[in-house]
């Protein structure tokens, strides 16, 4: 197999994983932020609900990144893989 072909396959695998991860993140964010910001859904999202959702989503991503850093550090400390 040529190096170029190998690179292509690797890129595709990595891209598929990245997409699956992003979808999972969006699903969890939507679930948690809808639950927190839209307790009683009305006929449309109010400005306050939209604002809350936008802040919530950014907060959720920051939390995800923090948890990721903390967890990977713990994994490395304990020598587990």
């Amino acid at each position: 197999m040529s190096a170029a072909l190998k690179d292509n396959i690797k890129k595709e695998i990595a891209a598929e994983l990245a997409v699956a991860n992003a979808q999972q993140l969006v699903t969890k964010m939507t679930e948690n932020c809808f639950d927190m910001c839209v307790p009683k859904p009305g006929s449309s999202l109010s400005a306050a609900e939209k604002n809350c959702t936008a802040q919530c989503a950014q907060k959720y991503i920051m939390a995800w990144n923090l948890v990721s850093r903390v967890y990977i550090t713990k994994l490395q400390q304990s020598g587990q893989r």
């Binding site: 969006v26 939507t30 679930e31 809808f34 910001c37 839209v38 859904p41 009305g42 006929s43 449309s44």
Partner: protein
């Protein structure tokens, strides 16, 4: 390939049904506090309709961010 096409269609139907299960469960928790009758009354129907609508709006807003 007729069968393959049919399977594709069924698979996309299954995916939609899976989402309907998720939404029904999620909106049930928001819309039904207790069971008084075997019917969905008007305000419960409205709640489910709004719940699905606003959930999808929230999802779209988040994806667009």
């Amino acid at each position: 390939q007729e069968i393959v096409q049919f399977m594709e269609a069924e698979r996309s139907k299954a995916k939609i049904q899976e989402t309907v299960h998720t939404f029904t469960n999620l909106c049930w928790n928001k819309c039904i506090k207790k069971v008084n009758s075997a019917q969905l009354d008007g305000s419960e129907q409205q709640c489910f309709t709004d719940c699905v609508g606003r959930y999808l709006d929230t999802n779209i807003d988040i994806v667009k961010m």
